[in-house]
Assembly symmetry: C2
Homo-oligomer: 454 residues x 2
């Protein structure tokens, strides 16, 4: 037991292995399918798109622990281990008996957890002699992370940035440029996928799905070039488990074990990272920890989507993934949590949700900002609009604990800070933000178009 | 000796006392004078403007160590101790035998060292029953710190923000508003000082000197209200010594002692903080550590100003301070390091410079950005434009060490990050920034207006 506000580990305690949850899941996810043949994809089928080692990690269902290369751990030392913080200010403001902890991933130089996977992906690409990489970014957090990682390992990077974010978040663009990346607003005229959308819908504001299509297309047409992705995929979740593995040691120092673990949810990268290392104790030791994914109510694939095979991108370039989805053509509202505007969930998370190992809640935009401002005023850190969804869910649970008079232990992941998202806060204070509700019909319209494979 | 990238202390190691350099300086600064009588000011003369305890700290020339209240240390735990980092990436890029360390004050939730004094000032005000405070801010770093500190201790805050920054740095304004402060562009019509300037010069873009005048005027006219300042004054430097006191322990863990210590220089707060705790070993043990203040060449009070009594503000509301100055009417160029655009230096620093205990260098705007980008690409952290002046000076010293083939140990203070200053980086990359040179005549014109008291 400690009375430290921040529980800090030494650099030697940066995990030496990532945790590969697939190897220990009671039910494995269904296989990824080739979109043409509908046959399960082999590891080698991924080689044209991803670095080979990342492809192997993507399909690895047997190794529980995967070594983190020393070169990646060396770079993790720039910002890892990240602190675990007791949110004493927030607890006091809520007058709750709950103990609230958060893992502070905002301390990374790019301001979010995304660097955990970006450094790994850049490293493997470099090691395999790749010179150029492409990627997409929604709110810009993944793009900035990949920009710094590419700069670190000496790779050229092109980033397709969702057009609405490109315009709303100019500082993110500047950050990527500071780290030497080329940034293109998506949809763009530089790809077939982009040109088609711009021709059909000239004013289309972009989506992650479209940006992914563009980034894949460019990677396929550029010599010695691979594509990288910041969420959804298994190897990304794998890299993010450093968050939960550190948090596990830190909770031990705190002398507590979480009853509830919460992460905001876009494609699943930060939720997976904080959740899986703890979830293994539910699998193996029958622990009853609750895991809650907090998604925006404007993009509710986990709470209101269907479980079906779907594409990961808008143009249908990716394999077919078994997942909770709103349909790959779903165009989410322009909420400020751009990192959560994605139509589907990763295959692992989808299977875990289906099997009842975790829960999902949806959070309205205004509730997320209210929670974010409360957090900024009590804990000092202005959260990213994405992370505010996790905070809102944590606040809800802490208030429930108060009602019930139970001293629950709540852990959430603060995936990033909002210092480059201040225009969103401006709009919130000015009363210019609204909630977005989807009718059942809106949702049905999209998912009904999906081929029924399951 | 350690091979950690980041040298981290535990919360118990947050200093329990601040170091009051005045008590150990071989020559004390000359007295502060009442502007009317020209007589030395007594502590009580400061009570109408500042909290009483801060006034006492301001004039305390005898106590070497001053206790940090437990309530302030408790709040320091949100972000302190800050890491000391070995800049291995920068060293490698410069191919220098020098060991470069930086104290990373950018980890504070407001993004800079300013919170160290803001929390102390807000605490003392609250303790003395004050309900409202005013302050000014240049680039916005002090204002954001004071906003969070005021929110933390339950005080109402009004911030006069230099107009050019108010327009160039909207995110800083949003941050202050997120923490509940009222922000007014200065010059404003809300004060006599502001109205006079707006009437005389309708397009005047503001200066720290003017904003100080406005903030003091508002404080004098508001019941139960005091004024707070983020630099220049002795009590501010005192609070900032937590930086150097922590760094001293951390350098010991690193197994080295700095040959050169560098801070950027506006009014002196961060330079003092990193320098004084080490300088005492020069005073007392004859150490020969070099201390370098890095100021912008567009505002060169230390390298080209005169040592004279001058006002701290534009309108002449403050006492007369013995200092290096460019004259209180000096209107600095609109460089992006808004925190360094101040006409004078604190009285302690001025005396230390006069007595040869420290040096000063001036850095051109373009050189500061070049160093800042190099630092971002090698160490990951995008520095505040202010801090980039310290980086540029450190780079110069590291290159000198390379020429001489000597493994010097260099320590600089990274006073803050630049995540809310990205528009400045945009302009730098677009080639829209220039250097500003002052002719001797420009400088003479202003300082010649000063009353010759010395």
């Amino acid at each position: 037991m400690t009375n430290q506000k921040k529980i800090v580990l030494s650099e030697e305690e940066i995990p030496e292995q990532w945790y590969n949850v697939v190897a220990e899941m009671p039910n494995k996810p269904m296989p990824i399918l080739h979109p043409g043949t509908k046959q399960p994809l082999k590891t080698e089928d991924l080689f044209p798109i991803f670095a080979e080692e990342l492809s192997r990690q993507e399909t690895n269902q047997t190794d529980v622990w995967i070594d983190i290369p020393e070169e990646v751990r060396e770079k993790y030392r720039i910002y890892r281990p990240s602190p675990l913080v007791r949110a004493t200010g927030l607890e006091k403001a809520l007058d709750t008996p709950a103990h609230i902890y958060f893992k502070n991933e905002s301390v990374s130089p790019v301001g979010s957890h995304k660097l955990n996977s970006a450094l790994a992906q850049a490293y493997y690409c470099k090691k395999e002699g790749i010179t150029n990489i492409t990627t997409e970014t929604g709110a810009g957090q993944w793009g900035t992370a990949m920009a710094f990682a590419a700069e670190t390992f000496g790779l050229e990077l092109a980033v397709y940035m969702v057009k609405i974010s490109y315009e709303q978040k100019p500082y993110r663009r500047s950050l990527m440029q500071t780290w030497g990346a080329q940034v293109i607003a998506s949809p763009s005229m530089s790809t077939k996928a982009g040109r088609k959308i711009l021709t059909d819908h000239p004013t289309y504001q972009g989506s992650l799905g479209t940006a992914i299509s563009e980034a894949i297309e460019l990677a396929m047409q550029t010599p010695n070039c691979k594509y990288t992705l910041g969420s959804v995929l298994n190897h990304v979740s794998l890299h993010q488990t450093v968050i939960g593995l550190e948090a596990e040691k830190q909770m031990e120092i705190a002398g507590e074990y979480p009853d509830i673990i919460i992460g905001c949810f876009g494609g699943g990268s930060n939720f997976s990272g904080i959740a899986y290392p703890f979830m293994r104790h539910n699998f193996k030791e029958g622990r009853k920890t609750r895991f809650i994914a907090a998604e925006p109510s404007s993009c509710p694939k986990l709470t209101r989507g269907i479980f079906q095979y779907d594409f990961g991108d808008e143009a249908g370039y990716t394999p077919l993934l078994p997942m909770f989805t709103l349909g790959h053509n779903f165009a989410p509202a322009h909420i400020h949590a751009g990192g959560l505007r994605y139509h589907g969930a990763g295959t692992i998370v989808s299977q875990l949700l289906k099997d009842g190992w975790m829960e999902a809640v949806d959070i309205d935009q205004l509730d997320s900002f209210e929670a974010g401002v409360l957090f900024a005023r009590t804990e000092g850190i202005v959260p990213a609009p994405e992370s505010s969804h996790a905070i809102a869910a944590a606040v809800n649970e802490a208030l429930k604990a108060k009602e019930e008079g139970i001293a629950k232990t709540i852990l959430f992941n603060l995936s990033g800070h909002g210092l480059v998202d201040m225009s969103a806060y401006d709009q919130y204070f000015a009363g210019d933000l609204t909630n977005y509700s989807l009718s059942d019909e809106d949702i049905k319209k999209n998912v009904d178009q999906l081929e029924k494979i399951i």
